[in-house]
């Protein structure tokens, strides 16, 4: 019983430690009637991810990006949402990485490389993605962009039922259209 309890506790703690180690750096930018979002998942590639990729599994990083506005006396309001995903599959015979980027189900990019660094950058770093329309935003109002990242398949031995994502980050910005 102690071992089971220790196992469960270790799983929960490991999950929490991994989530705490990972962060998402987010940079929103309002430009040309759109909100361009750049974000980068740091420490998202650990040994487990590397092993999972090199096992030939299809590894997907899914990012739920929400443009939200704070509300004083109620729950924050979500202005718009977008789902960006990046997946990679490693061919263990040819040692090439086939990766794909998608935005709300549409394929943005699909390419092949034999560089692990390139793959890591493609999976965790996104630059100026035009995800939201800024025409509905109010000038000089404060918004924030929240990004929740989830990796699948999961490699944790236990899933906390109330954890819908692995890591989350958010950053505020004041809408000043150019």
């Amino acid at each position: 019983m102690k071992r089971v309890f220790a196992f469960a506790l270790a799983a929960v703690l490991l999950h929490a430690a991994q989530a705490a180690a990972q962060t998402i750096k987010i940079t929103p930018l309002a430009r040309d009637g759109q909100v361009l979002v750049s974000f980068n998942l740091t420490d998202g590639f650990n040994d487990d991810v590397r092993a999972a990729i090199h096992s030939g599994m299809n590894i997907t990083f899914q990012y739920q990006v929400d443009l939200r506005r704070s509300t004083t006396l109620w729950l924050d309001r979500t202005i718009a949402s977008a789902v960006v995903s990046a997946s990679v599959r490693f061919d263990t015979l040819t040692r090439k990485y086939q990766f794909t980027r998608m935005h709300d189900g549409r394929t943005l990019l699909s390419d092949m490389t034999d560089s692990y660094d390139v793959v890591r950058q493609w999976l965790t770093g996104f630059e100026k993605l035009p995800l939201f329309n800024s025409r509905t935003l109010e000038r000089n109002s404060e918004y924030y962009v929240r990004v929740r990242a989830t990796k699948s398949p999961r490699t944790a031995p236990f899933i906390w039922p109330w954890a819908g994502h692995d890591v989350m980050g958010q950053v505020k910005f004041t809408f000043l259209p150019h």
């Binding site: 799983a11 999972a52 096992s55 699948s152 398949p153 031995p157 236990f158």
Partner: protein
């Protein structure tokens, strides 16, 4: 009707079935269908999980490590929370039940703990052993020999591909260097084909494709392939690969699977002119046979499966451990619930019986317990209900008897009150005594006749009747004391202020149920008026006879005397004077005798009064007017009551009564010779009327301040031929009493304060 409803609908007919006034929702534990459904769902969930686990190899890693693991983790946590909640609830209920002092709370908790203890040990052991087995099994999956074999096989395949890749790359680089750049730039197909043809014909590569660069974009120029190459549609992958090579990609190798089987190993190189300017791209391809490619892919797939299994080792362990944990928790939860359920099933009938007994004890005999089972407890409940029904029936009988008894008691009480009222109101005196001779009851007539008060109740009759005037009653008490069971009757005469009170008394001994003396009842009636009436009747008879016998010779006597007077009218004066004197005396006495006889006759022939409503005040006023101016020294005063209602009287007879009484009073005061008294106490007569509305009588009171009547004479005063006057016939007051009596009234004589006599007549209004 209060009933505990927890019954199953399929039970046999019961002696008691309450009306289905309100449909109550049965709890889960008492609903077999719900219990069966729950068990089926539980088994189905377990079967699904077993199946899921069995097919986990076929499941995608995403589904396995996501959905399945998530579901199991959520289920484990949920069951754990439910188990903790159930245990906490039972503990709280136990605490509450113990505080309330409810029975069987400890028994239930002990049973739950026993079942939990019985199941928790094997369950935890299974969990520990299973977890250990899972970890050992997963470790065994990744044992060194297997990993070495798989890795080595994969490395062989990998090396084969690398070798082919290097081989093709070397040829591609060499062909790019030896390729005439001018021919490529000028699109001289023959020259280019000639340059590469030998590569194919000599078998160094299977396929050579040359592209010419036009503004940096590769354009197919020449393609030479071996006849052994499988035929198929154009392969656009070569164009994309050439473009990548032209773009300077470092990735100079590519692998293209063929539709007909096999795989092309491609490698490209840029063709440059003498100045180093790219003019084209050459791509050399070698063919991996279908068998070789398939074997290599199978080796790679096995390796990937193995490594993926390693990656998913922890989620898989998590799935299996979560499954075991869930099984353990479900067993514990089931054991806890089953323990509580069994405890409820065992103790509930006893609790119901205890509660039912309390209800019956509290008097609610219509309380019933509805049997929930058909086992021994059900029989016990049936017996309890039968007992309660019989108790209820007995109580109803008792209630009816009580009501009947109450009604009879009320009737008896009413009858007793009626008898008491009758006894109290009757003119007959009644005294009841107990066996010891103590007076228990005495009615008003007895109090009045014996002149005692109610304080004698409880006193010995001997002591009460020991009074001098009541001694004649002692003869009856002696009869009671002698133990005689027959009634004893006696006429008695008690002295009352110089008068005689005649009583007809009877002593009746009371006997108990066994014949033993339990007391006596003394009954006595005032028969004085009766005796008086008998005497008056006797006197009337005497008067009639006397009048008849005396009156007849009086007329001859008178005629003879008058004849003698006429005969001796011529006689000498002395004789004539003597005769005159004698005859005058004889005639006078005869006249007196005639008057006396007439009065006797009148007494004997007193007619029945003819009553009419009359004004007594007017009657008295008219009567007293006859005395105006007759007696100067006697003051006759009238005190007439106002608003005196009419009284039914015979006016002439009542007038005669009043005249008789006033004449007696005048005579008592001295008549015409009455004189004023030295103490200025004027002789007077008061005639007064009164109304006693309470007793319904009108009174005529005639009082004087004369010498009065001695008590010894009062009783004889109304007797015929009794007179205190020298020349009285003795019939005046006798006639007065008779007239008053025939009017339904009464007359009494008493002393007048300070002196004299007062006559009081009462006439019914």
């Amino acid at each position: 009707m209060t009933t505990i409803r927890d019954a199953r609908p399929a039970l046999p007919p019961r002696p008691f079935r309450p009306p289905p006034a309100a449909i109550e929702r049965r709890p889960f534990r008492d609903n077999p269908r719900l219990i069966l459904l729950g068990i089926v769902l539980l088994i189905a969930a377990l079967a699904a999980m077993v199946t899921l686990t069995d097919q986990s190899r076929e499941l995608s890693p995403d589904f396995l490590s996501g959905v399945v693991l998530y579901a199991l983790s959520a289920a484990d946590l949920t069951i754990l929370v439910v188990l903790l909640f159930v245990l906490a609830r039972y503990i709280v209920k136990l605490a509450v039940e113990r505080r309330r002092g409810l029975p069987f709370s400890r028994f239930r908790f002990k049973l739950v703990l026993a079942l939990l203890g019985l199941t928790i040990i094997p369950s935890v052991l299974v969990l520990l052993v299973g977890g250990r087995l899972i970890r050992d099994s997963t470790q065994r999956w990744f044992s060194a020999p297997i990993e070495d074999v798989v890795s080595s096989a994969r490395n062989i395949a990998l090396e084969l591909y690398r070798e082919r890749e290097k081989h093709v790359a070397a040829h591609a680089s060499r062909m790019a260097r030896e390729m005439p750049a001018g021919a490529v730039a000028a699109a001289n197909l023959d020259a280019v084909r000639a340059a590469v043809k030998s590569e194919v014909t000599q078998g160094r590569v299977k396929l050579v494709e040359v592209f010419r660069l036009e503004r940096g974009q590769p354009v197919p120029l020449v393609a030479v392939e071996s006849p052994t190459m499988p035929r198929g549609p154009a392969r656009p992958s070569a164009d994309r690969f050439a473009a990548r090579i032209a773009a300077g990609s470092t990735d100079s190798a590519a692998f293209d699977p063929l539709d007909a089987g096999g795989e092309l190993v491609r490698s490209g190189a840029v063709i440059r002119d003498a100045g180093g300017t790219p003019v084209g791209v050459v791509i050399a391809s070698d063919l991996l046979s279908t068998e070789l490619a398939a074997q290599s892919r199978r080796i790679t797939a096995a390796y990937e499966g193995y490594t993926q299994l390693q990656v998913l080792k922890r989620p898989l362990e998590g799935v299996y451990l979560s499954f075991f944990l869930m099984m353990t928790l479900m067993i514990l939860l089931s054991a806890t619930w089953t323990g509580w359920y069994l405890a409820k099933r065992i103790t509930r009938p006893v609790q119901l019986l205890a509660a039912g007994a309390r209800e019956i004890g509290a008097g609610r005999l219509d309380h019933r317990i509805e049997p929930e089972t058909r086992d021994e407890f059900g029989s016990l409940v049936e017996a309890f209900n039968t007992m309660a029904g019989e108790l209820a029936a007995s109580q109803k009988k008792l209630e009816r008897s009580r009501v009947d008894l109450e009604r009879k008691n009320i009737e008896l009480d009413e009858r007793r009150r009626y008898i008491e009222t009758v006894v109290e109101r009757i003119a007959t005196g009644v005294i009841s005594m107990d066996a010891d001779g103590r007076i228990e009851t005495i009615n008003s007539a007895a109090l009045r006749l014996l002149e005692v008060d109610r304080s004698v109740i409880g006193s010995l009759a001997d002591d009460v009747l020991a009074r001098e005037d009541l001694r004649p009653l002692d003869i009856l008490l002696r009869h009671m004391r002698s133990g005689g069971s027959d009634p004893a009757a006696q006429e008695l005469a008690l002295a009352r202020e110089g008068r005689e009170l005649h009583l007809a008394a009877a002593m009746t001994p009371l006997l108990g149920e066994e014949g033993d003396p339990s007391g006596a009842v003394l009954v006595f009636d005032d028969v004085t008026p009766l005796i008086r009436a008998q005497r008056v009747a006797a006197w009337r008879d005497v008067a009639r006879r006397l009048a008849h016998e005396i009156k007849n010779p009086l007329t001859p006597i008178q005629l003879c005397a008058e004849r003698m007077r006429r005969h001796f009218s011529g006689a000498p004066p002395a004789s004539r004077a003597l005769v005159e004197e004698c005859t005058t005396t004889i005639v006078g006495e005869v006249e007196s005798l005639k008057d006396l006889v007439d009065e006797f006759a009148q007494f004997a022939r007193m007619p029945a009064p003819r009553t009419v409503p009359s004004d007594l005040n007017a009657l008295l006023t008219e009567t007293l007017a006859l005395y105006n101016g007759l007696f100067r020294e006697i003051r006759i005063e009238r005190r007439l009551a106002e608003a005196l209602p009419p009284v039914r009287v015979d006016v002439e007879q009542i007038r005669r009564v009043v005249i008789n009484l006033v004449d007696n009073a005048v005579e008592a005061l001295g008549g015409s010779g009455a004189q004023a008294r030295p103490n200025a106490d004027t002789p007077f007569i008061v005639v007064e009327t009164q109304l006693d509305a309470v007793n319904g009588v009108a009174r005529i009171i005639v009082a004087d301040n004369g010498p009065g009547i001695s008590p010894a004479d009062r009783d004889k005063l109304f007797m015929p031929y009794y007179s205190t006057k020298r020349r009285g016939s003795g019939l005046g007051l006798a006639i007065v009493r008779r007239i008053v009596a025939e009017h339904g009234g009464s007359i009494e004589v008493g002393d007048h304060t300070p002196a004299g006599t007062v006559f009081t007549i009462e006439l019914p209004v």
